[in-house]
Every structure is written in structure tokens, then in C-alpha cells.
């Protein structure tokens, strides 16, 4: 191997060096601002960190912080379970919703560009601090409650929910679905980028495939599952990872809020690090396992 490397032509060697020069800002930034803090916070999560008189003293305390997070802190485990289950349900809902919208937007009709622009609007407008503000809007929540109370019996969704509830099959699964439908606004806000990615995937499928299927007597429904689905399956992977990651970085995330409260208000760096590591490992494991499962089913055309 080393012999081969020595034999590399001059140009190739020069290109390798300049390649490294080009990505050097990233390497430096990655090592200094990501890996070092990451290792440090991992170390801190096993330490008792004291901030006194302008110095940091770290005394090794084993897994005390992790025990604290799981067994002493009254909120953390509850928030963690809530947030992770919310992440699973919502990511799934966002993927389904954005695929559906992309399918509609892929058809020919007047004003398609306008609709696409409107669906992408939340990516620009509901970012950063604005997301947190919208979901904390007490007035809207109060209003929704009063409206629900006063218009009882008129609401179509409530009637449907009642019918499905009394059907008695898989009530708990239904409850999740109802929750998502009630919060469809949040789902629509979070799916701007996913719609565009699906749409670009749909547009790469050549129409000749559909024509051939049509001539062979394939219905639209069949060609959706036999052509569209496999052809955009790689987009599902991209979108799934993006959605999950995006979801756990949102500023209205309860676990993140809790961590920041512990870190900045209570100055307990050790506990905060332990909490964020638990969350990080959970999310990473979730992303890893699910994307492994999805990538097994991804079909690459070429």
C-alpha cells in the first residue's frame, strides 16, 4: 500500500495536498469546536463541577450525575419519555404528510408555483425563536378550548373521533392519530424542506415508466406502490434523518429547555452534561437504528 502511495503521480499528490488544504477549516473547526467540547462534556458528565472564585474544579464522581438525572430529578425522565415518543409520532406524521403533499404538488395544475411557495414559507418564517413563541401562545390555546366548548356537536373531527373511539379497536393508536391531526398545523410547519426534497425526487422519475405501466394495465394506485414508492425510497431516508434531527433541535423542545435551565440558571454543569448526553445517545441510537432499517429497503435505480 505504501509503495503504491509513493508511486502516486506528482499531480495526484499535489491534488491530495490541496484537497486537505481546502477542507482544513473544517478539520480544525471540527476538532477544536466539536470533538474537544464533546469529550470535555462527556468527562464533565462524570464529574462534580464547581464554579467558584473564577475557577472550574472538576472532581470525579462516577455515574452520580446519571443517577441524579434518572432517579432524583423529578422532571427529567418524564420529559425524556414524552419528548422521544413525541419525536417518533411526529416524525412519522411529517414524512407521511410531506410525501402526500409532494404527490399532489407533482401534478399539473394552475398556481402550482404559488402553492409550493406557500408550503415552503414556514422554513423561512418559523425558524429559531419564532417556533417557540408560536407554540407557547396561551391566547390561541385558550381560544381553541373555548371554541371547542361552545361549538360542541358541530365539529366534524370530534364526531369522527367519537365514532372511532367507540369502535374499540386500537384506541391508543387512534389517540396518537387524533393528537397529530389536532396539531396538523405544527406538522405542516415542519415539513417545508421535506416536501421540496420529495418533489425533486418525484420529478426525476421519467414519465415513460408510468406510460409503460399504464399500457400494461396498471392502475394509478398500483403504479404509486410499484413505481413511485421504490423510486423515491432514497428520499425517504434523507427526509427521515433530516426530520428527526430537525425535531430534536427545535427551540420548543422540552428536554433542551430543561437542560438549559439546569445549566444556565442552576449552574450545574455536570448534571446538564449528563442529561444532554443521555438525550444525545438516545436520539443517535434512534436515528441509527431506524435509518438502518430504512436503508435496507431503499432501492437504487442505477
Amino acid at each position: 500500500m505504501s509503495k503504491q502511495n509513493n508511486k502516486l503521480a506528482g499531480l495526484q499528490k499535489r491534488k491530495a495536498i490541496s484537497g486537505y488544504l481546502f477542507i482544513s477549516p473544517f478539520i480544525i473547526g471540527f476538532l477544536v469546536f466539536l470533538i474537544k467540547p464533546l469529550i470535555e462534556s462527556l468527562y464533565m458528565s462524570f464529574c462534580q463541577v464547581d464554579l467558584a472564585a473564577g475557577t472550574v474544579t472538576k472532581t470525579f464522581s462516577g455515574i452520580a450525575n446519571y443517577i441524579f438525572a434518572f432517579r432524583v430529578d423529578p422532571e427529567y425522565t418524564r420529559l425524556l419519555v414524552e419528548e422521544v415518543s413525541r419525536m417518533m409520532v411526529y416524525s412519522l406524521a411529517i414524512i407521511v404528510f410531506s410525501f402526500f403533499v409532494a404527490l399532489i404538488l407533482n401534478q399539473e395544475f394552475k398556481g402550482r408555483a404559488l402553492v409550493r411557495a406557500i408550503f415552503f414559507l414556514p422554513v423561512i418564517l418559523s425558524s429559531g425563536v419564532i417556533v417557540g413563541l408560536e407554540s407557547n401562545n396561551e391566547l390561541i390555546a385558550n381560544l381553541a378550548q373555548t371554541i371547542e366548548k361552545t361549538t360542541e356537536g358541530v365539529s366534524v373531527t370530534a364526531a369522527l373521533e367519537n365514532v372511532l373511539r367507540t369502535a374499540g379497536v386500537g384506541v391508543r393508536a387512534y389517540e396518537k392519530v387524533f393528537e397529530v391531526i389536532d396539531n396538523i398545523y405544527d406538522v405542516a410547519l415542519a415539513s417545508g424542506i421535506q416536501i421540496i426534497i420529495f418533489l425533486s425526487g418525484l420529478q426525476t422519475i421519467s414519465t415513460s415508466m408510468y406510460e409503460a405501466a399504464d399500457i400494461e394495465g396498471c392502475t394509478k394506485w398500483e403504479s404509486l406502490w410499484k413505481i413511485t414508492f421504490p423510486m423515491v425510497s432514497s428520499m425517504f431516508l434523507v427526509n427521515w434523518i433530516y426530520t428527526v434531527v430537525d425535531f430534536c433541535m427545535r427551540s420548543d423542545n422540552k428536554v433542551i429547555e430543561k437542560i438549559q435551565k439546569v445549566m444556565i440558571d442552576q449552574q450545574q454543569y455536570g448534571n446538564a452534561s449528563a442529561m444532554s448526553w443521555i438525550y444525545f445517545v438516545l436520539v443517535l441510537a434512534f436515528v441509527g437504528i431506524t435509518s438502518l432499517l430504512i436503508s435496507k429497503r431503499v432501492y437504487y435505480y442505477d
Partner: protein, 336 residues
């Protein structure tokens, strides 16, 4: 009868005659098409309305006086239209200084981030070097790691900043960089700012799709790597660079996490907005002299006005550069 004649005579027939010829198939098909388009219209109209309605609602609320807010007859058009809310919201956010600060920081940060990400993206797209796959996996890792995980140690890192222990050796103490803007610029220079992994990925995808002939011609003519990049490749990448710049600008403009962490002392529109309800309370207390609880309706009205003030520039940018935003995203997902 030739084909052309048949077509002409066919076109002269009325719809019903043609329908009869096709044995009812034409009518069925037309009706189905019409039904699909009506259903599609209702669905899309509903969803678009759902997305736009909060913005319209904010606009109407922002022009209402407090009196109108409690008036059950007033729904969307205020009886006593006023711009006082805008004045108050702007004052509470320290609007003038905040806008100047935010503009300066967002533009410089976005420029720096995109410059660095372009270099790195180009490096990944066009050069072969050992461990390339490993470093690219690191880029994906950057996209995956939530910055909140490392927040606590970054916090300390910059509180007691030191370059390999040099400062301590010379001055005897570490530098406190908390509250200054330098750390964030340093992080941006190292491609570790807000969503920078994503920009690297997008720019790399774009460069990979440009054919390499021009570049090779330049090399053959004796142009160096850097010069080829600056003179030949950069002009071709203008679309992706502008859209990445716009994304960086917009996301930096509304960002709360990095701003609160690194730029806490600087007045920005985003942090001003997240604090607006508290500052409203403080403001009213200062006027009245006693602590009063503000009604939810009024504080929400001010919040809506503040949000509008912040997003108006973004809406203007979006109106002009809508294509740039959408197309840059659609070019990323094509191939992993």
C-alpha cells in the same frame, strides 16, 4: 378520409357527439378529472390557509387597540385602527440598535460561514485524498449532533478561553470570551456555526454536478488549484452560493440558541423578541409604579406585532428569492 380530415371533422363535433362515439368513456373521464381537480383545490386551499392564517391574524391583531381586543364584535378588522402597537413593540425591542446589530452580525456571519463552507464543499467535491470518506462522515456527524449537547462545555470553553495554554503562560490568566462576539466568529470560521454541516453538504452536491472539463482545461493550461477554484469554479456556483447565503442570513436572523449563548449582551432582534413579554411587564411597571399583571390578550398582541416586525424583512427576501431557496434544496436530495 385522411387522418388530418378526420381530426378536423372530429373537432367540429360537439362534446356529446364525441362522447357518444367513445361510448360514454369521454364523459366519465372528464367528470373524473374535474372531480379530482376540485378535491385537490379544496385540500390545497385548506392547507395553504392553515399556513397563512396565523400571519393574517397577526397583521389584523397588530393594528387593534386594547379596546378592540376585548370587543367580541371585532374579529379581524379593527374599529379603532392604530399603529401604537408597532411603536411600543419597536421601543421594547430597542428596535433601532437591534436591527443594526442583527443586520451586521447576520451578514458578516453568513458571509464568513458560506465562504468557509464553499472551500470545504469544493474540497470534498473535487479532490481525492486519503481518509476522504472519514472526513465526510464527520460532516454528516456535524449535521447530526445537536449543538445543545456540547453547549455546557462550549460555555466553559469560552469562559476560560486559552490557545493551547499559551495565554496562561504569558499573562498568567485565561481570557474570558463570554459576552464578546469573537467566539461565534471563530466557530463560523471553523464551519461549526448554525447548520453549517448542511451548507457544506449542499455546496458539495452542487459542485459534484458541474462537469469537470473546464477545470481540467485550466489545469492543463497551468492554472493553480486555488486560482482555478476562484476564477473558474466560483462564478459557476453563484446560484447555490446566493441561496446558501440567504439561508444562513435568514436562520441567523431568527436564531435564538447561538445568539443567547454567544451574543447574550448584544441586543438582537431575535433575543429581543423572545424577551418582549417580560420587557412589556417591566415597561408597564415603570409607568404605573406598581407591579401589574398584563392581560394575556394584550401581551399577545404586542408579541404578534413584534413577530411581524421581525418577519417582514424575511418575507420581502422570500418574495424576491423564492426560486433560489426552493431550487437549492431540491438539488441536494438527488443523490446521497
Amino acid at each position: 378520409m385522411t387522418n388530418a380530415e378526420a381530426l378536423v371533422s372530429y373537432k367540429k363535433m360537439s362534446f356529446w357527439e364525441r362522447n357518444k362515439l367513445s361510448g360514454g368513456y369521454l364523459l366519465k373521464k372528464k367528470a373524473l378529472e374535474r372531480a379530482v381537480s376540485i378535491v385537490r383545490f379544496i385540500l390545497l386551499f385548506g392547507m395553504c390557509f392553515m399556513i397563512l392564517q396565523p400571519i393574517f391574524n397577526k397583521i389584523s391583531v397588530s393594528f387593534m387597540t386594547e379596546q378592540d381586543l376585548y370587543n367580541p364584535i371585532v374579529i379581524s378588522i379593527p374599529v379603532h385602527p392604530t399603529t401604537a402597537n408597532y411603536r411600543l413593540a419597536a421601543e421594547l425591542m430597542n428596535f433601532k440598535t437591534a436591527v443594526v446589530n442583527s443586520l451586521l452580525i447576520s451578514i458578516t456571519i453568513a458571509l464568513l460561514q458560506i465562504a468557509m463552507c464553499t472551500l470545504v464543499g469544493y474540497g470534498f467535491a473535487r479532490f481525492n485524498f486519503p481518509l476522504k470518506k472519514f472526513w465526510f462522515a464527520c460532516v454528516l456527524l456535524v449535521i447530526l449532533i445537536p449543538p445543545q449537547t456540547i453547549a455546557s462545555s462550549l460555555h466553559l470553553h469560552f469562559r476560560y478561553f486559552d490557545i493551547l495554554g499559551l495565554c496562561k503562560l504569558i499573562t498568567g490568566a485565561t481570557i474570558n470570551l463570554r459576552g464578546s462576539k469573537l467566539p461565534y466568529y471563530l466557530m463560523s470560521a471553523g464551519c461549526m456555526g448554525l447548520k453549517n454541516g448542511l451548507y457544506i453538504y449542499m455546496i458539495r452536491q452542487y459542485f459534484r454536478n458541474i462537469p469537470g472539463d473546464l477545470e481540467e482545461a485550466a489545469y492543463v493550461d497551468g492554472c493553480g488549484t486555488l486560482k482555478t477554484f476562484l476564477v473558474i469554479m466560483l462564478p459557476q456556483a453563484k446560484p447555490i452560493l446566493t441561496s446558501c447565503f440567504l439561508f444562513a442570513f435568514v436562520w441567523q436572523w431568527t436564531d435564538g440558541f447561538y445568539s443567547r449563548m454567544f451574543l447574550g449582551s448584544t441586543k438582537l432582534v431575535s433575543t429581543g423578541l423572545s424577551r418582549i413579554v417580560d420587557s412589556l411587564g417591566a415597561y408597564i411597571q415603570r409607568i404605573n409604579g406598581v407591579k401589574t399583571t398584563i392581560s394575556i390578550a394584550y401581551s399577545n398582541c404586542i408579541l404578534a406585532t413584534g413577530t411581524l416586525i421581525i418577519i417582514v424583512p424575511l418575507i420581502v427576501i422570500y418574495l424576491f428569492a423564492q426560486r433560489a431557496f426552493v431550487e437549492s434544496i431540491s438539488s441536494t436530495g438527488i443523490k446521497m
